[in-house]
């Protein structure tokens, strides 16, 4: 049976990709952020996961507003990183895990999640930057990725609870999959940030730290925050916390926090990095 070994949270903002391209990770601005990653890379190197279930959002590369899904799941054999319009470097194609992806989709629909199933998908920085962070030099060729995309671009957006339960159902699917695979889950994006409006640049450090605490042992306590509350307290892009909740839903009730890092600012964002081992 496939096994869920742990979860990782990470920012996915494009500026990180640019910093990697420019090789400026060790400059004073970037060092405190990139310093959060070596312990996670070490853990990944030891645990050797086969598959990553990667929660992210698409910021207008694959999905336009003509057809905007709440949840979309990739079932493709390969995903292509493509031009996003403002110059972030693309990365080599990402390998999919078709069979487990479809098994997850079957379980999700059975569990009354009304997903959009994607057999072909361009993936943007939301998915590519985390891979670059975890496997420097784009050495992710041995990893199979299952993209789980959550709408964070247009209201109405799903609740934290719904995303957590999406994760629960994905966990059920993984644990009933008849192959010996080690699966790790990424919750990408967040934490507090606001890109648009006169309040642009808004960051809420206490709220972010509270979320990082709760996500470990009391994720359900975060259900009290509506999407509107998130916009208010964590900025217009604060609902990206949904991806963290999806990740946390895939883990079991009890997890062990092995590592965390929090740094402000990366671009306009409070960047939270965590490594949670599944018990």
């Amino acid at each position: 049976m496939a096994k869920i070994i742990g979860g990782i949270t990470t920012s996915h903002i494009p500026a990180i990709g640019r910093a990697i391209s420019l090789n400026i990770e060790e400059t004073p601005y970037w060092k405190p952020f990139f310093d959060g990653y070596p312990p996670i890379r070490k853990w990944l190197g030891e645990k050797k996961p086969d598959v990553v279930v990667l929660f992210y959002n698409d910021h207008g590369l694959e999905f336009f507003l003509n057809k905007k899904p709440t949840f979309s799941i990739g079932v493709a054999p390969q995903y292509i990183s493509a031009d996003e319009g403002w110059g972030i470097a693309t990365i080599p194609p990402v390998t999919g895990e078709t069979e487990l992806s479809w098994h997850i989709c079957n379980t999700l629909v059975e569990d009354e999640f009304d997903i959009t199933i994607c057999q072909e998908m361009k993936v943007d920085h939301g998915l590519t930057v985390p891979l670059q962070l975890m496997w420097p030099g784009n050495t992710y060729g041995h990893i199979k990725v299952i993209p789980v995309c959550i709408n964070c671009e247009q209201h109405p957006m799903p609740s934290l609870k719904r995303c957590f339960n999406l994760g629960r159902s994905i966990a059920k699917a993984i644990e009933s999959f008849d192959k010996d695979l080690n699966v790790v889950v990424f919750g990408t994006g967040g934490l507090s940030h606001q890109l648009d409006g006169q309040r642009a640049g808004f960051i809420n450090k206490p709220f972010d730290l509270m979320c990082m605490d709760k996500i470990v042992n009391q994720p359900e306590e975060l259900f009290q925050y509506s999407v509107r509350d998130l916009v208010e307290q964590a900025g217009a892009q604060g609902p990206e916390l949904n991806m963290w909740m999806g990740m946390r839903g895939v883990l079991s009730g009890k997890v062990t926090e092995l590592h965390r890092n929090y740094h402000i600012p990366i671009s306009n964002t409070g960047a939270g990095t965590m490594l949670l081992e599944n018990n």
């Binding site: 507003l65 640049g201 740094h263």
Partner: protein, 117 residues
């Protein structure tokens, strides 16, 4: 009741909801094409002609002309698609933040650093 039924505005913050999505559809559709290099080049060659191709309103065209990010938001622009427009202009998210807040880029960056203290 949807969370969107709360009528109290959040200062300096836009909800890109159905109303805005309807209003800005053409504008965002145009910006979506900027994923494509050829489209970016065509836009740069004649900005207003490109806007017309997508049926932008006069208000939207004026805001494009003026690089008026707040005006574009109010005309239904979605920040993720607008970012593809501002990207063409060589502006990053901190530049865009500075434009919207009326700060200098340096002040905007300093504000962000301060949020971490």
């Amino acid at each position: 009741m949807s969370y969107l039924d709360n009528p109290t505005p959040i200062p300096g913050t836009y909800f890109f909801d159905g109303k805005m999505a309807s209003k800005g559809y053409n504008l965002n559709k145009m910006c979506y094409t900027f994923n494509d290099k050829q489209a970016r080049e065509e836009f740069l060659k004649d900005e207003m002609a490109y806007c017309d191709k997508f049926g932008l309103s006069d208000v939207q065209k004026q805001a494009i002309k003026n690089r008026d990010v707040i005006g574009l938001l109010e005309a239904g622009g979605n920040i993720y698609f607008l970012a593809k427009f501002t990207g063409i202009l060589g502006l990053n998210m901190q530049d865009v933040g500075a434009i919207q807040t009326g700060m200098s880029v340096e002040d905007f960056k300093a504000m962000l650093v301060k949020a971490g203290e």
